[in-house]
């Protein structure tokens, strides 16, 4: 399952999709991915940073949404305190 998480004051909001069903053009999967893509673009436009997280690998900053990612985690914009 692919998951997009957005860290927020509520803990985290997330949306999931089954990337195995992506080649079959499953409508539910495609709708979830479209929504995840929209959230990705919207939060990034506000200055948030996205990281791709894969088990056993270091996190990687990404600028493009990737539906094949295991997990994408978006953190809000940061400033020097």
């Amino acid at each position: 399952m692919g998951v997009l998480r957005v860290l927020s004051r509520r803990g985290d909001d997330h949306i999931t999709w089954d990337e195995q069903k992506l080649p079959m053009n499953d409508p539910e999967t495609l709708a979830a991915i479209r929504e995840a893509e929209r959230i990705f673009a919207e939060t990034r436009a506000k200055g948030a940073t996205a990281f791709r997280i894969e088990t056993g690998k270091p996190p990687q900053k990404i600028d493009q949404f990737d539906p094949t990612a295991q997990q994408i985690l978006i953190v809000p914009r940061v400033v020097g305190g």
Binding site: R9, D12, P76, R77, G80
Partner: protein, 133 residues
């Protein structure tokens, strides 16, 4: 017998008190829910060793990707991130999200930023001289 004004006054006071209690209870409930969700996510992201260090020592040491002798010490509670080199604190860093996050999520944020974009992290954070006594 109470006058209409007195009854209205008491009614209004009771209503305001009930509203305040409801708002407070809702805030506490939402905050604890957020903290629980953030702690759950932290258990997914951190390794068992990192979790042990965070809970038993109160901080998480994140090795630098740029300098092998450098470690970033992220506190579990609020506070500065310490930059440690060869076992000594050499600098304090302050960097925070623009949106309020549960503390466990802040720890995750520091870890991701240090591991994936350390240069940007260092450029953005405010730096403090730190004297290790």
């Amino acid at each position: 017998m109470l006058s209409l004004e007195t009854m209205l006054g008491w009614g209004l006071t009771t209503l305001v008190c009930a509203l305040l209690i409801w708002i407070t209870a809702r805030y506490v409930w939402n905050t604890s829910q957020a903290e629980r969700r953030a702690t759950h996510l932290m258990k997914e992201i951190l390794t068992p060793q990192e979790l042990r260090q965070l809970f038993w020592r109160g901080y998480l040491d994140i090795p630098s990707t740029l300098a092998p002798q450098r470690v970033y010490r992220v506190p579990r509670s609020d506070g500065y991130v310490q930059v440690r080199e060869n076992g000594h604190t050499v600098m304090g860093l302050c960097l925070q999200p623009t949106e309020r996050l549960p503390r466990a999520d802040v720890v995750i944020l520091h870890k991701l930023m240090i591991e994936a974009q350390e240069e940007f992290y260092l450029q953005t954070a405010n730096k403090f001289r730190y004297f290790d006594i």
